[in-house]
Amino acid sequence: MEWASQLCENRHIGSKMTDSKYFTTTKKGEIFELKAELNSDKKEKKKEAVKKVIASMTVGKDVSALFPDVVNCMQTDNLELKKLVYLYLMNYAKSQPDMAIMAVNTFVKDCEDPNPLIRALAVRTMGCIRVDKITEYLCEPLRKCLKDEDPYVRKTAAVCVAKLHDINAQLVEDQGFLDTLKDLISDSNPMVVANAVAALSEIAESHPNSNLLDLNPQSINKLLTALNECTEWGQIFILDCLANYTPRDDRESQSICERVTPRLSHANSAVVLSAVKVLMKFMEMLPKDLDYYGTLLKKLAPPLVTLLSAEPELQYVALRNINLIVQKRPEILKHEMKVFFVKYNDPIYVKLEKLDIMIRLASQANIAQVLAELKEYATEVDVDFVRKAVRAIGRCAIKVEQSAERCVSTLLDLIQTKVNYVVQEAIVVIKDIFRKYPNKYESVIATLCENLDSLDEPEARAAMIWIVGEYAERIDNADELLESFLEGFHDESTQVQLQLLTAIVKLFLKKPTETQELVQQVLSLATQDSDNPDLRDRGYIYWRLLSTDPVAAKEVVLAEKPLISEETDLIEPTLLEELICHIGTLASVYHKPPSAFVEGSRGVQHRRLPARAGSGESSESPDVGQPVGAVPDTPPAVIPSQGDLLGDLLNLDLAPPTSSAPTVTPSMQMGAMDLLGGGLDSLLGGDIAGSPAMGAGLASAPVVMPASLGAPVSSGLDDLFDLGGGVGMPTGAFVVPKTIWLPAMKAKGLEISGTFARRAGVIQMELSLTNKAMSVMTDFAIQFNRNSFGLAPAGPLQVLTPLSPNQTTEISLPLSNVGPVMKMEPLNNLQVAVKNNIDVFYFSCQYPISILFVEEGKMERQVFLATWKDIPNDNETQYQIKDCHLNSDAATTRLQSSNIFTIAKRTVEGQDMLYQSIKLTNGIWVLVELRVQTGSPNYMLSVKCRAPEVAQLVYQCYEMVLKN
């Protein structure tokens, strides 16, 4: 009890020294005593004193006051004492930077010691002292040690370069240490090579663009040679480094794989996983018809299975990675179901992971065994595990159709156990089974209804309510059942409230006679007594639907639902690829990209799998899509996980195919004519007929053929510089307030809201980006899908500083109208992709057509008249604008600020007739007659245009401009 006795002794001494005139507390008295001992002449006493100091340090006492005395002991022949003093220095140098300088001389001297152990010890320790002043003195000794004759010193010096780089990167570069480090990759000693690789990888990780590792076939060859000779840890460094390399072709890829596969037989699990990472990545480049590809697939399974006999923590890492591998290449482990069977003494985290993999591997071939196992698990005691097992049975039913019946009967057996959480879980999954196999298993509803009272979890209640509503016609007392839920309506969670509302509406539509009272009750609860806007909105929608057109309501509410897909919880393919490149690391354990949990990892490139040979796509390809080679054999559709599924269900009822619900479709009559293609020619042709504005119209006409992009670019510029035309510059144009386009929930914490504006002839997309995640967001970029008017970002999305959590940034993105064109529905729909360091997100938004109204939209009177006559009457659409209290002059001014120009005004019998013209960015003219009746708040609007599709949008624009 060396330790304890020292501590006792210290305490004893302390109490003796309490009245010391220099130190007031017992603790400091002890320090005084130690000081004396440290300065003793006797070597043995000195060493004992240093040990006491270290003991105090270890128990967390502050002994920094002894710094000079301890440093004085540094010059010693005793190795143990030297190590202890070094240890002390590492701990306290930072708090005593000035005194730490005292140690420099000894360090420098030790770096020249004849004993390599001392040289290495000195250079190792010096690197750990993070004090700038010391760092300067480290350079020369380090330079010597990097070239030391002893490999033990060289391998230590190699690591020291990484340490120094962490403290002062510039210094390391200036001193040329990086080059020396690179040279060490060719060292004759494998341990030196391994540490040099580790150090370079570490430095490269913090400087992703430095191209430090500069991997090429020659250096790769050296690494592969060292791989056979270095320690297990060195092998991991080298394998992890290899994983960053992208072979030039499939032959190189194969030859590297061949030299890496022997590592799969290493006893160290971490070596095996790092080898698996390299193989999984490089395999991507091998042609699938290659014999070697099949051989490799076969070689991967046994080592992965063996990892399951490792220590539980390593098993856990292995299982999380197997989960990824099974998603990426299901063929590898498809015959290994049994090894994932759960053992009674497995830790809970291993159990849950095994269960997940079991479901992924479930197939017709093994389903009987899997089900028997799952049933066994469902009778265990661990609540989380049991729940997951029950859910797994449901997922099996959905995944393997042939097993559905057996799954349902297993679930019914489980419901009979009456174990509360088992019953609830079972009901939730049975709902999904009903969705997947409609009209097949409804006979079990009666059994489910028996358990209605025991359900206390929102998800289970909501699922049960959904079932009652969906099958109301087969449940005699459906009204009673739903009514019973209604009593405590306001105490239910939103999920249940929404579901109850929908279910009762369904019931009403199915059995209108008996349930009128019930439906009124729920509608009033939802719309009048609730604070929840979602609930209120849904209530109102149903109410209006039911009161205006019950037939349409039936078509909407009872619309056929799309089938749910087989696989759930799949990782999105680009993320999966990135995670495969991070096998064995925390990212693969969390199933999150490193950027999501590592601070300051901005600028770090997302790792990508290399493309298969011959696909012609480079791995650095910045586009969003998957490289051709990365497409899994049968790409399963990703559907939301269980949690989202219900939300999905709830919303389904509201979004039926438009065709089946004519009343909710806006009365837009889309002509079959291609607005921007063939129709354009005729439009322009019409204009040419004596139009002075012809030149301008022609110049800004969109050119669909990409070959002639020149013209639109210049027209875009014209637009930009055409400020002169705006003497009464329309700065007052109305801008819609920002709305949320992309909720944070759907975009891993990124919330985007925005609006559009036209300012000084430039279309602006005004965005607010809010970071609602926990980590910093960087690397923003934006892209539009092809759209009706060829809108495209005129420049990059400039987010100057990284977006910290909870920070919002406002950006105005100028748009051009020379992008690729594709007719959208609705016409003003814009599909946007926004990328950041975390992922790529998609959303769509609609822009007001007024942003397309150009400043030179004022038509000559004569031309107006001619054009009006020329456009066939079929193309005229009339609208009524109600409740508008502006007089015609005010309306004129307001409209003009949105580039709607009044060409003439006529007053007939107290009615003002305004004739107005609008020109869109693509050269389409819109002619309008606006009738304002004095004293009446209702305007009449007639829109004439060769492209009648825009009329509706123009009308909306009038509504907006005039009423705001």
């Binding site: 320690t231 220590e311 069977f341």
Partner: protein, 424 residues
């Protein structure tokens, strides 16, 4: 890349000793570790990775200690766990037992080891036999001038020092096969495999080159030899001394062995084995009154062989009391702290069948909480026999001094993870 710092904590979360390797994670972060762990445990969501803000704790537990590594990077998690287990191994070899006291009693050596085992988060020399050549517990005896780094540390052969001498050169080879079985409650075998291990005790002088020959089916088919029984090994794992590329190319197991005891290789065989000790059980629980247990054990192996130290562990409810036993052989014992009946049979010949009956009382007031359904587990050892039929065909030993050395081989089959589920 790897650990930023490594901590050894006691069960209360107090830091016993620690080493900051990279300085990028605040050392005070460790204070969050135990509270978070407790919270997870309470929620039943224990996990070997815990995160707090940007700091991730990767931990393992050993006796009354937590070994924790911290990082704020995307560390190689498998490397970190492998390293933590290596720490346990090295400390155990140094201090016999790794526990709170041994850490405190040897803190100077622990610091020295931590300094040598890892540098800036990169694991370095972790072979305890080699470490013991230059880091010892008798530190006082070491004078600077005399202590040298053994060249072994940086050699390609980093596991064996030069100049080892034995009067009598011998190698003892133990082939140990463990049977893992999972049997369903209705008696069908859900999964079974064999995990074999070949252990060496090497007492050889100099730097001997060894070659081990097994009746490996892949090797036989490679060499065209087809006589005698051969074994298909599903997956093989080797000690780092074995030349992996050589094995990959021609299935030769060639190596320079570490001195003393080591595990040369392990392998896994997937063939369906008949459970060597077959158990049939009837457990009848009469609520509020009693539990009656009948267990039949049958030796499903050759009559000539004998299983030694057979233990059949049968779970009983935690509130059972007043045990009564009747056995046809061996003796049964109630272990209340583990809720088990342990039926021990010292010697169990092949083909024989034995019976054990147990009777427990149950309290009239039942406990509320549900109990799990632990399986019956079995332990046994059958010497002179391997289930898979694997055999050491030869062990060639070549040393430049040309001495004659003798290999000795022992075979043993034992139970591994041997579980039979019950209905109760």
């Amino acid at each position: 890349m790897s650990a930023s710092a490594v901590f050894v904590l006691d069960l209360k979360g107090k830091v016993l000793i620690c080493r900051n390797y990279k300085g990028e994670v605040d050392m005070a972060e460790i204070d969050h570790f135990l509270p978070l762990l407790m919270q997870q445990e309470e929620e039943g969501l224990l996990c070997p990775v815990i995160s707090h803000g940007h700091v991730h704790f990767l931990w393992v537990k050993h006796s009354n200690l937590y070994l924790v590594a911290t990082t704020n990077k995307n560390a190689n998690a498998s490397l970190v766990y492998a390293f933590l287990y290596k720490l346990v191994e090295v400390f155990t070899e140094y201090f016999k037992e790794l526990e709170e006291e041994s850490i405190q009693d040897n803190f100077v050596v622990v610091y020295e080891l931590l300094d040598e085992l890892m540098d800036f988060g990169f694991p370095q020399t972790t072979d305890s036999k080699i470490l013991q050549e230059y880091i010892t517990q008798e530190g006082t005896k070491l004078e600077v001038a005399k202590t040298r780094v053994p060249t072994t540390v940086t050699n390609a052969v980093s596991w064996r020092s030069e100049g080892i001498k034995y009067k009598k050169n011998e190698v003892f080879i133990d082939v140990i096969e463990s049977i893992n079985v999972l049997v369903n409650a209705n008696g069908s075998v859900m999964s079974s495999d064999i995990v074999g291990s070949i252990k060496l005790k090497t007492m050889l002088s100099g730097m001997p080159e060894l070659r081990l020959g097994l009746n490996d089916r892949v090797l036989f088919s490679l060499t065209g030899r087809d006589k005698g029984k051969s074994v298909t090994m599903e997956d093989v794992k080797f000690h780092q001394c074995v030349r992996l590329s050589r094995f990959e190319s021609d299935r030769t197991i060639s190596f320079i062995p570490p001195d003393g005891e080591s595990e040369l290789m392990s392998y896994r065989i997937n063939t369906h084995v008949k459970p060597l000790v077959w158990i049939e059980s009837v457990i009848e629980k009469f609520s509020h009154s009693r539990v009656e247990i009948m267990v039949k054990a049958k030796g499903q192996f050759k009559k000539q062989s004998v299983a030694n130290n057979v233990e059949v562990r049968v779970p009983v409810p935690s509130d059972a009391d007043s045990p009564k036993f009747k056995t046809s052989t061996g003796h049964a014992k109630y272990v209340p702290e583990k809720n088990l009946v342990v039926w021990t049979i010292k010697s169990f010949p092949g083909g024989k069948e034995f019976l054990m009956r147990a009777h427990f009382g149950l309290p009239s007031v039942e406990k509320d909480e549900m109990e799990g359904k632990p399986p019956i587990t079995v332990k046994f050892e059958i010497p002179y026999f391997t289930v898979s039929g694997i055999q050491v065909r030869y062990m060639k030993i070549i040393e430049k001094s040309g001495y004659q050395a003798l290999p000795w081989v022992r075979y043993i089959t034992q139970s591994g993870d041997y579980q039979l589920r019950t209905n109760q």
